[in-house]
C-alpha cells in the first residue's frame, strides 16, 4: 500500500476531506431533521431549527465541493458512479430540495408549518438513507464497460446497500442529537441527550453489522483487513472506535456539553479511515484507481493553487460564522 505523494494522491485526499466535511457538517443538519418529529411542536422544534438555520447552507456547500470536486479532479469516476447510482442521486437531490426549502417555508404560514416540518424530516431521512446507500452501492462494486457504467439501473439495490443506508441514518441522528445537546436548552436539551444515547446504540450496532458484512463481499476487503501485516494497522480502527463509543456513553450520562459531539466526530473520522483501508487506491472497487480516473495534470495544478489559497479563507470565515452564532440558541428565536 505505497502512498506516493503525487498530485493525484493529494487530490484524493482533498476530495476525501471535502466528503468528510460534508458528512459531518450536513450530517448533523440531516440528523436534526431525522429526529425532528421526536421534538414537541413549538419551542422545542423552533430551537432545533434555529440551531442550524444560519449554517445549513454553508454545510451543504461541501456536497457541491464533493460532487464538483470529483467531476473536476476525477472526471471518469464521476462519469461512472453517478449513472450507476442514478435513482439514488435523484432521490437524494429531491430530498435535499424538501429539506432546504423547509428552513424558510415553515415560517411563512403557520397553517402550513406541520406540512413543512414533515417535509423537513422526510427530506432529511431520504437524503441520509440515499447517501448511505450510494456508499453501499460503491463498496459492493460497480460494473464498468470501457469508460462507462455497464450495469443496469437497479444494480445498487441490495441488502448490503440498505444496511449501509440505515447505518448512515443512525450516524447522522447521533451527530444531530449531540449537536443539539450543545445548542438547545430546557426540555429540548433533556430530549437531545436521551436521543443521543439511543442513536449511539443504533450507530454502534449498524457499524458492527456493516463491518462484518463488508469483508464477506469480496476477497479484496478480506485481504485488506484480515491478512498480515495489514491487520496490525487495521485492527486499531475497530479498537479505537470501541473505546470512543464507551467514552461517548460516559459523556452522555454525565451530560457534558461539547464532548459528545466531538467524540461523535471522532467516530465518523474512524469510519472514514476504515473506508480508506477498504477502498484505497480505488475509486470504483477493483476497476478504477485514482490514477485511472485522474484529471489531466494541468487541471490538477490549476485547481490545487486555488484550493491552497482559498480553502484556508473558507475555513476561516466558516469558523467565524459559527463563532457569531455560538452558544445556546435560546428560546426566543434569533439573537
Amino acid at each position: 500500500m505505497a502512498v506516493n505523494a503525487d498530485l493525484t494522491t493529494i487530490w484524493a485526499l482533498i476530495i476525501a476531506f471535502a466528503v468528510f466535511m460534508y458528512v459531518v457538517m450536513d450530517g448533523f443538519d440531516l440528523g436534526i431533521g431525522i429526529l425532528f418529529p421526536a421534538f414537541a411542536p413549538g419551542e422545542e422544534r423552533d430551537q432545533a431549527m434555529n440551531a442550524i438555520a444560519p449554517v445549513w447552507d454553508g454545510n451543504e456547500t461541501w456536497l457541491v465541493l464533493g460532487g464538483g470536486g470529483l467531476f473536476a479532479a476525477f472526471p471518469l469516476a464521476y462519469a461512472i458512479i453517478l449513472p450507476a447510482t442514478y435513482p439514488l442521486i435523484i432521490a437524494m437531490l429531491l430530498g435535499l430540495v424538501f429539506r432546504g426549502v423547509a428552513f424558510e417555508f415553515r415560517w411563512r404560514d403557520p397553517r402550513h408549518r406541520a406540512f413543512w416540518d414533515w417535509a423537513f424530516t422526510s427530506g432529511s431521512l431520504v437524503a441520509a438513507m440515499t447517501q448511505g446507500m450510494i456508499l453501499g452501492a460503491l463498496l459492493q462494486g460497480i460494473e464498468v464497460d470501457g469508460r462507462n457504467y455497464g450495469g443496469g439501473w437497479l444494480d445498487w439495490l441490495s441488502p448490503y446497500s440498505l444496511l449501509t443506508g440505515l447505518g448512515v441514518v443512525a450516524g447522522y441522528a447521533l451527530l444531530g442529537a449531540c449537536f443539539l445537546a450543545m445548542k438547545v436548552e430546557g426540555r429540548a436539551e433533556d430530549h437531545a441527550y436521551r436521543l443521543a444515547g439511543k442513536a449511539a446504540w443504533a450507530t454502534l450496532a449498524l457499524m458492527v453489522a456493516v463491518s462484518l458484512y463488508t469483508p464477506l463481499l469480496d476477497g479484496q476487503y478480506w485481504r485488506r483487513w484480515f491478512t498480515m501485516p495489514n491487520i496490525l494497522f487495521a485492527a486499531n480502527v475497530p479498537i479505537v472506535t470501541g473505546i470512543l463509543f464507551f467514552a461517548l456513553g460516559r459523556s452522555l450520562r454525565k451530560r457534558r456539553t461539547y464532548r459528545p459531539f466531538l467524540i461523535a466526530l471522532g467516530i465518523f473520522l474512524l469510519g472514514m479511515i476504515g473506508l480508506g483501508i477498504s477502498m484505497w487506491p480505488f475509486l470504483v472497487p477493483d476497476t478504477v484507481t485514482i490514477w485511472d480516473a485522474a484529471a489531466p495534470e494541468r487541471s490538477q495544478v490549476f485547481m490545487l493553487v486555488g484550493v491552497a489559497i482559498i480553502m484556508p479563507i473558507i475555513l476561516a470565515y466558516t469558523g467565524w460564522s459559527y463563532w457569531v452564532f455560538r452558544g445556546k440558541v435560546g428560546t426566543e428565536g434569533y439573537h
Binding site: 454553508g58 458512479i81 449513472p83 462507462n148 494541468r298
Partner: protein, 483 residues
C-alpha cells in the same frame, strides 16, 4: 456505445427543465443581492430609516429566493454526471476546474456569509453586517463569472488540446480557456439581464403599492430606483446584446442563421424577418414579414453585404430553427418593451407624475415578470442554437449522454416536474404573499418576530404584521441590543 434515443430526448428534457427552473432564482437573486447591498449602504451613509425598512422588506424575499436557488442549484452540479456522463468524462478536465473554482470562490462565500446577513445584524453590528451583505452580493457575481465561462467555453471552445482517445485536455494557458471568445459578451449580457430582471420585479411591487396608496414613501422609493435602472440600463443592454450577436455571428454563424430565420443564403443583402413560421421540413420561412436588407445592415453595417444561410451548413449540423427563431424574438421584444417603459418613466419624472400616473404603474406591474421571461428566452436561444452539439462543432449532444435506461430517466423527469412545480410553486406564492404587504416604517427583520417561538403557541399574525410594531415608538431604526 449507443445511447437509447428515447433516453437521450428525456435526458435533454430533464436538463432543460431543471436548468431553466434553476436559473429563474439566480436571475433574481444576483440583482437582488446587489440591490440589498445598495440599500444597506445608503442606510449606513444617510442614516435614513427608509432604506433599512426597504432592506428588511426585500431581505425576507431574498431568503426564500436564495433557498430555492441553492436547492435547485445543487441538482445542477449532479446533472452533469447523471445525465451527461460521457460529456463529463470528455470535457471534465477543462470545465471541471472552472466549476470547482465556482464552488471555492462563490458558493462558499455566499453560504458562509448568508447566515450573518439573514440573522446576524444584532450579533455583529452594522459595519460587519454590511460587509456580510457585500460578500453575498460579490459571491453571486463571482458565481456568474465562472459558470458563464463554462457555458461560453461550450459555445466557443478554445485553449484545449485533444487527447488520442477524444477527451478535451487543457492547453498551456488557462486564460485562453476562461476568457474564450464569447465569454466577456455573455457575462456582461447575463449580469445586466439579472439586474434588469430584479429592477422590473422591484418596480412592479412598488407600482402595486403606489396604486393602493400614492403617498407610501417606501413604495415611491423602490419604484423610483427601479425606474432609474430601467431607463439607464435597458438601452445599455440592447447595445450589449447587439455586440454579443455580432460575436455569435463570427463564432457560431449557424445559430445566427436560425435566429434570423435565414434558411437561404442572400448574396446581395439579407432581409430582417420580423415574423414568420419556420418550416424545417421545406427549409423555408412561411408567411414572412420582412424589412429588406435590414439584417445585413444590422449584422455587417452594410445593407448589401452577402449573408450565408443554413443551406451552407450540412443538414446534420443545423440547429432547430423554430425554437431559436421565436425565443430570440421574445427576448428582443421584451428588451424593447423594457426600454419603452424606462423612457416613459423619464417622461413621468419630468412631468412630476412618476408616483400618480396609474397607467404607468399598471404597465410596470404587467412588466414585472418580463425580465424572467426574457432571460429564459435568451438561454433557450443560445442553448438550442448551439445544437446539435454540446461542445460547439466538436462533441455532439447525441454522443454526450449517459448510458441510461429510458424508464429511469422518465421516472426522474416526472419526479422533478412534480416536485419543482409543487415546492417552487408554493415558494413563489409565499413570495407573492410577502410582496402583497405594503412596505412600511419599522419593517421587521427576519430575526425579530417571525421566528419567535412564543408566537407559534398563541395568536399568529402574518409575517410582516408585527404586533409589537405599534408600541415601538422609536422614530429611528435601532439595532436591537443583545440580550
Amino acid at each position: 456505445m449507443v445511447v437509447d434515443p428515447t433516453a437521450l430526448v428525456l435526458a435533454r428534457a430533464q436538463f432543460a427543465f431543471t436548468v431553466s427552473f434553476h436559473f429563474i432564482f439566480p436571475a433574481f437573486s444576483i440583482g437582488l443581492a446587489s440591490f440589498l447591498a445598495v440599500l444597506e449602504g445608503r442606510w449606513l451613509l444617510t442614516g435614513r430609516a427608509l432604506y433599512l425598512d426597504l432592506y428588511r422588506y426585500w431581505l425576507k424575499i431574498f431568503a426564500i429566493v436564495f433557498a430555492m436557488g441553492v436547492v435547485s442549484g445543487i441538482v445542477m452540479s449532479y446533472q452533469f454526471g447523471t445525465n451527461w456522463a460521457v460529456f463529463s468524462d470528455k470535457a471534465g478536465g477543462v470545465i471541471g476546474p472552472l466549476m470547482a473554482y465556482e464552488v471555492l470562490t462563490a458558493f462558499f462565500l455566499e453560504a458562509g456569509f448568508l447566515g450573518v446577513m439573514l440573522f446576524g445584524m444584532r450579533k455583529v453590528g452594522k459595519g460587519l453586517h454590511f460587509a456580510a451583505t457585500l460578500m453575498v452580493a460579490i459571491g453571486t457575481a463571482i458565481s456568474a463569472f465562472w459558470i458563464l465561462s463554462v457555458n461560453s467555453w461550450m459555445q466557443t471552445p478554445t485553449g484545449f488540446v485533444m487527447s488520442p482517445d477524444g477527451r478535451f485536455l487543457p492547453g498551456p494557458s488557462w486564460w485562453d480557456i476562461i476568457f474564450n471568445p464569447s465569454f466577456p459578451y455573455r457575462l456582461v449580457h447575463t449580469v445586466i439581464a439579472a439586474y434588469l430582471t430584479t429592477a422590473f420585479i422591484v418596480g412592479a411591487v412598488g407600482a402595486w403599492h403606489l396604486l393602493k396608496d400614492t403617498a407610501n414613501e417606501h413604495a415611491r422609493k423602490m419604484f423610483s430606483m427601479a425606474m432609474w435602472m430601467a431607463a439607464l440600463v435597458a438601452p445599455v443592454q440592447i447595445f450589449v446584446g447587439d455586440v454579443h450577436g455580432l460575436n455569435t455571428l463570427e463564432h457560431q454563424p449557424a445559430k445566427v442563421m436560425a435566429m434570423e430565420g435565414h434558411y437561404q443564403s442572400h448574396p446581395d443583402g439579407a432581409p430582417l424577418y420580423l415574423f414568420g413560421i419556420p418550416n424545417d421540413r421545406e427549409q423555408r420561412l412561411d408567411y414572412p414579414v420582412a424589412i429588406p436588407k435590414a439584417s445585413s445592415l444590422i449584422l455587417t453595417h452594410d445593407p448589401n453585404a452577402p449573408l450565408d444561410g443554413l443551406d451552407t451548413i450540412a443538414p446534420e449540423d443545423r440547429p432547430p430553427v423554430w425554437i431559436v427563431f421565436w425565443s430570440f424574438r421574445i427576448m428582443v421584444g421584451i428588451g424593447f418593451a423594457m426600454l419603452a417603459l424606462g423612457l416613459w418613466s423619464l417622461v413621468a419624472r419630468a412631468r412630476k407624475r412618476l408616483y400618480d400616473w396609474r397607467a404607468l404603474h399598471r404597465t410596470a406591474i404587467v412588466m414585472g415578470p418580463s425580465g424572467l421571461v426574457a432571460v429564459i428566452a435568451g438561454w433557450v436561444t443560445t442553448e438550442v442554437g448551439r445544437q446539435p452539439f454540446t461542445v460547439y462543432g466538436l462533441l455532439r449532444t447525441a454522443d454526450s449522454a449517459s448510458p441510461l435506461a429510458a424508464p429511469a430517466v422518465a421516472a426522474s423527469l416526472i419526479a422533478f416536474v412534480v416536485v419543482y412545480t409543487a415546492v417552487f410553486g408554493i415558494g413563489v406564492w409565499y413570495i407573492f404573499k410577502l410582496m402583497s404587504h405594503a412596505p412600511h416604517p419599522h419593517e421587521t427583520g427576519i430575526e425579530q418576530t417571525e421566528r419567535a417561538p412564543l408566537r407559534t403557541a398563541g395568536i399568529t399574525p402574518g409575517p410582516t404584521q408585527n404586533p409589537t410594531r405599534e408600541q415601538d415608538g422609536s422614530p429611528l431604526p435601532t439595532v436591537e441590543d443583545d440580550r
